[in-house]
């Protein structure tokens, strides 16, 4: 029988605003066993009277950072945990974390490319762990990121993505802004659809590994379109969040 994944006490080492509603928390985790890009952690918050809640969050940071793990959390209106993390937590605070968890939605440099990453909103987080790892590992795997945000100020990691896309390693970043576009915007300006994916992944190679993370509607649209474009379903890995409406 495998050993249980232990709860560890994390100390918040730093907090950084990413967008008006998204914040990154750097957690110091002594004895962290390491993770693979794409994995997540569970966190547990406990009140004085013993009431406690758990939530899962994707890891945003690359595994090359010893003992430090970044979580990027969107503040959900009325979110019991995300609102607490945003509104109450300050550096030096501590809470329980266990992980890493999940072994399927994972990419590591030796797997190589070509790689297609498709993100909607905070679905960028586990993909960012892959991109950061790709950079730190010196991988030149041809990689394309198609990232859908509502508006320019809601693009998470924008400056870092810009920098990674110009480092000569073979990463192309394509943004689409679905709600509002700033003057002079030259990127896509609609929801992800089959034509946009065909544009971005041209030429389609059956060996392309695909990771899609975002709201259900985006993931469904993108995964179905890629299957229609000829990518083998087994090459497409998805992670979803959010309600379906029904």
């Amino acid at each position: 029988m495998a050993r249980s994944i232990a709860w560890r006490l994390a100390t918040v080492a730093a907090i950084r605003d990413e967008t008006p509603t998204v914040r990154s928390f750097t957690l110091a985790l002594p004895d962290w066993p390491g993770h693979r890009p794409g994995q997540h952690v569970d966190i547990r918050l406990t009140a004085e009277d013993g009431y406690s809640v758990e939530r899962s969050y994707s890891i945003a940071s690359e595994p090359e950072r010893d003992g430090l793990v970044d979580l990027t959390v969107e503040r959900i209106p009325d979110g019991e945990v995300s609102a607490f993390l945003h509104d109450v937590v300050v550096p030096g605070d501590r809470f329980e974390v266990r992980g890493p968890i999940g072994g399927y939605f994972v990419w590591e440099a030796p797997l190589g490319g070509p790689l297609l990453l498709v993100a909607g909103g905070s679905g960028i987080v586990p993909l960012m762990a892959m991109l950061r790892h790709r950079a730190r590992a010196g991988s030149a795997a041809p990689t394309r990121l198609l990232y859908s945000s509502r508006g320019a100020d809601e693009i998470i990691y924008r400056a870092e993505l810009d920098a990674l896309a110009t480092d000569g390693s073979g990463l192309d970043v394509h943004h689409t802004l679905t709600r509002t576009q700033p003057p002079g915007w030259t990127g896509y300006a609609r929801r992800i659809d089959e034509r946009m994916l065909a544009d971005v992944v041209e030429p389609i190679r059956p060996s392309t590994r695909v990771f899609i993370c975002g709201p259900t509607a985006l993931v469904e649209t993108a995964a179905n379109a890629l299957v229609r474009l000829g990518l083998p379903a087994g090459q497409i890995r998805t992670e979803r969040f959010g309600p379906t409406g029904t």
Binding site: M1, A2, R3, S4, I5, A6, W7, R8, L9, D42, R44, L45, T46, A47, E48, G50, Y51, S52, V53, E54, R55, S56, D78, E80, F84, V88, V89, D93, R94, F95, E96, I101, G102, G103, Y104, F105, T216, V219, E220, A223, N224, L226, V227, A233, G234, I236, R237, T238, E239, R240, F241, G242, P243, T244, T246
Partner: protein, 211 residues
């Protein structure tokens, strides 16, 4: 750590109260779970789509002879309504989900099961599998749903038909099910081979391997 660490400033919303403010439903929410009214979708890959005229459901493995139903034969099996609470390992619990479909008992009655059968592997379109002790799916413990909330089960929720095992985390409720294989030995399925618990009992909080 055995003692839970108290987080500075955390009070919580006491989210195990029913969001509608109706009955006290706290006792129905397993440890570490929160209540939702949504029906979140989680899948490891694209949603498979199989035409109903090519769909079948099969009982195989340790049976005298495999049994297979076409879609129309499957719909003709004795079905009932099920009102059950569902808990996903990603922490949401949804109370009183209404489904319709035949029980696994009904399906297995049609097959002559070898007494050595002790485990079952559910297999699905797209290659997904999940394993269960036979006892977990008998005596009303599981059913194969073709309707949710009075409507045909949507593809992203596992339609045309999915296994539903209310007593276990929801990954055991295989979407897009195409059959059950009876075995004498246990055989870890997709998530069970990727660090998730082999049994997945939400009341024992069996989330991950070793829990």
């Amino acid at each position: 750590m055995s003692e839970r660490f108290v987080t500075r400033g955390f009070i919580g919303r006491r989210g195990t109260q029913d969001p509608s403010g109706a009955a006290d439903t706290r006792s129905r929410v397993p440890p570490g779970q929160y209540l939702t009214r949504d029906f979140p979708v989680l899948s490891a890959g694209p949603t498979p789509r199989t035409a109903l005229d090519r769909w079948s459901l099969r009982i195989e493995g340790l049976v005298a002879a495999p049994v297979e139903w076409t879609w129309s034969e499957f719909l003709a099996l004795p079905a009932r309504d099920w009102l059950v609470d569902i808990s996903c390992v990603t922490k949401w619990t949804h109370l009183d989900m209404r489904w319709r479909g035949p029980s696994v008992d009904t399906l297995l009655e049609a097959a002559d099961i070898d007494p050595r059968a002790a485990f079952v592997v559910a297999f699905s379109d797209g290659g997904y599998t999940t394993n269960l002790p036979l006892g977990d799916v008998l005596n009303g413990g599981a059913f194969v749903a073709f309707e949710y909330d009075g409507r045909p089960l949507a593809p992203e929720h596992g339609g045309p038909a999915r296994l539903v095992v209310p007593g276990r985390y929801f990954w055991k409720s295989a979407k897009w099910i195409r059959g059950l294989r009876l075995q004498s030995a246990d055989d870890p399925g997709f998530w069970e081979s990727l660090g998730y618990h082999n049994r997945g009992d939400q009341w024992r909080e069996e989330r991950y391997s070793g829990d």
